[in-house]
Amino acid sequence: MHDRAALRRQDFWTALLLAGLSLFFLWKTSEIPFFRANAAGVESGRWYNSAAIVPYAIFATILVLSLGLLVTAIRQGGAPWLRRAVTADAETGGFARLCAVAAIMLFYIFALVPRVDFTIASALVLQALIYGFHETRARATAIAVVAVAIPALYALAMHFPRSEWNTPQDDDWITLAAFVILAVVALVETRLCHGRLDKAIAIAPVLSVLVPFLLVIAMAFGFRQNVPNRTGLLFKQVEYHYYVTVKPWLAGKGR
């Protein structure tokens, strides 16, 4: 996967990071009572009963092992030349694609899923990931990231507090518009680029809507599980018609 020298260069920095983190958590552990504890009004002042004893052992061991890893990394030529390892990855374009996937994922989970209807948010992300990553074209990847970033940043900026996650639906409409525009752009841009339409890109809009829609219905009404954003633009209507139209109709049919 990696050449050994590059791996050791990464190990060098990881070991330093791990040592730093273990020292930080050892310090945080010192905030947990060790020799004298008063939990729920009960004095329990023995070191071997302390909630800190196992964490102390864990972080001290991580510290020792990370120092061991540091020594190994240095012995095997891993101390200098870190920058070359990163640029080698960046040169292949793999690093940029990786950052794009991570960005779309973070926008989806931290901005869209909590605030936007699940079907609409997922349709946008599915469309973006299929279009942006099916071919290794930087332009398609960039368009996909921008298409997800705009509604995600809007949702974050306009409805950041938790109290606003479920009530207004303007972010739902903007996400829906972003999905439609991205679907059209994907079809046109791919055709202009290749002179023909790839099968995966052609089916992407239908797949992107159907998969989350069927999934959310199966989860909510089949598996009876909780689903994100029940007051979303689409799910609100589905839930209403399930209880007001479909269920009474099914009950009447069964009678």
């Binding site: 996967m1 990696h2 791996l7 990464q10 190990d11 958590f25 009572p33 504890a37 939990a39 729920a40 329990s44 023995r46 070191w47 071997y48 009963n49 302390s50 909630a51 004893i53 196992v54 964490p55 864990i58 061991t61 991580i62 092992l65 990370s66 061991g68 890893l69 190994t72 793999g94 694609r97 990786l98 996937v101 994922m105 989806y108 989970i109 931290f110 899923v113 909590p114 699940f118 997922s122 992300v125 599915l126 990931l129 299929i130 990553f133 099916h134 071919e135 995966a200 797949l207 998969v211 989350p212 999934l215 959310v216 989860m219 598996f223 009876r224 599980q225 909780n226 689903v227 994100p228």
Partner: protein, 517 residues
Amino acid sequence: MIDFVVQQFAVFLTQMSALALDPVTYLYLFGSVALGIVFGALPGLTATLAVTILTGFFGNKFPVEQSLIALIGAYVGAIYGGSYPSILLNIPGTAASAASALDGYPLTRQGRGGEALGLTTTSSVIGTLIGTFCLLIFVWVLLAVAQNIASPEKALLALFGILVSGTLMSSDLVVKGWIAGLIGLAMAMVGLDPILSEHRYTFGWSYLLSGFLVVPVLMGAFAIPQIMTGLRTGPVSGRPPQVGRIVPHWRTISRNMPTIARSGSLGVGIGALPGVGEDVAGWVSYGVGKSFSKEPEKFGRGSLQGLLSAETANNACIGGALIPLLVLGIPGSPPAAALLGALMINNVTPGPTIDPDLIVRIVAILVLASLATFALGLFMARVFISVLKVPQTIFLPVVLVLTTIGSFSVGGGINDLFIMVIVGLFSYALIRMEYPIAPLVIGVILGGLFDESFRRAMLVSDGDLSVFVTRPGAGILLFLNVLLILSQVPPVRRAMKRLVARGISDAGASDQPGSPS
């Protein structure tokens, strides 16, 4: 002994007939096995992911007996399904079937892809049945032993599980496996401590008071890195070749029966080791198969023995992996860890106090799942082969949506999703630096058990550490833990090598004519 075995089979047949007479069983069974095969066949999707995603779907809203049919069905199906791309495209569907590609693909290039698939199906089913038989017998023996296990042994067993997993799953330095296991242990320390309810590392976030939930951690650790790696690479799919007759000839199976039996036993043994999964079983069995074979030169060039060694072992591993899970609550493999997560959210605590009926039911489900795999594998193979044409840039985004809704539904809502993504990005970084992820997950799962058992042992002994030495069981486990650690310390390894070399040369010298005997 014979009476015991007969009695076990009588109970097993009762449970089996109860399951077989219920039509719902078949709905769950065939659906989940087919889904598992598809998951296994699609490169990048694993058995662990199949079980974890289904855990998210079933949650705790269904009776655990029904959920288990789906989860075990998906587990068995996915381990088997990994053989399709290995044999037909030389792309391992799962890590467990990586060894199968060495001989499976050359067989396909020789025009024997159908034969390879048919034999793989048969050996996988026999392997699963060997594992199931061992589970049925050994689980009771170990349960009887487990009655005498107290806190010191539990703590040392949990530590042993993390150490073994870290040691055997490391592809680079062993220290990386141990660090991954310790990071998992550290993650398990977050929240209220189990004895004094002290806050640990919650940073004022009330969600963290209950600690990390298993399902979001599993989904983050196993799904997110796969999605990122797959989309970074771009579309990978293949055009599978036409295959001929799939139903195998009985003569070929009977000729290879010794290989199947040996590999099955090995698979069970490796599966029973805590945290060591089907991939290790496949490779070890492949290596052993080569050393036992009369034609070792054919291995890697289309040897049926090579293919059967790997495939039988990785399926037999399933039964083996369930033994420590059910007896001690220590998962034998990453998919078993996902299964443990499902049991935990259904308030079933594996261990000496587990309901014996549930164990027999799991055995019955395993048998039915392997029979369903056999039927689907032989008669619907062409459908599963067509799945191989789907590029990963189509199914990996769908997996992201599946894991998102699955993780959300299990318990903590949106906070679980945040944890899933953070754990996923962190796991991806670790994987890129060749840290194994299985020990981290095993650490998260066993961390609570280790913390609680260790402190209880100390509490009972009034702070006397000798409790870990004076109890016979604890003493043996401590010795094994120390031995495992020392065996990986470079100076000790060098000393051991010198001793072994000296022993060999001494033995050689004593074999010389004229030397004293």
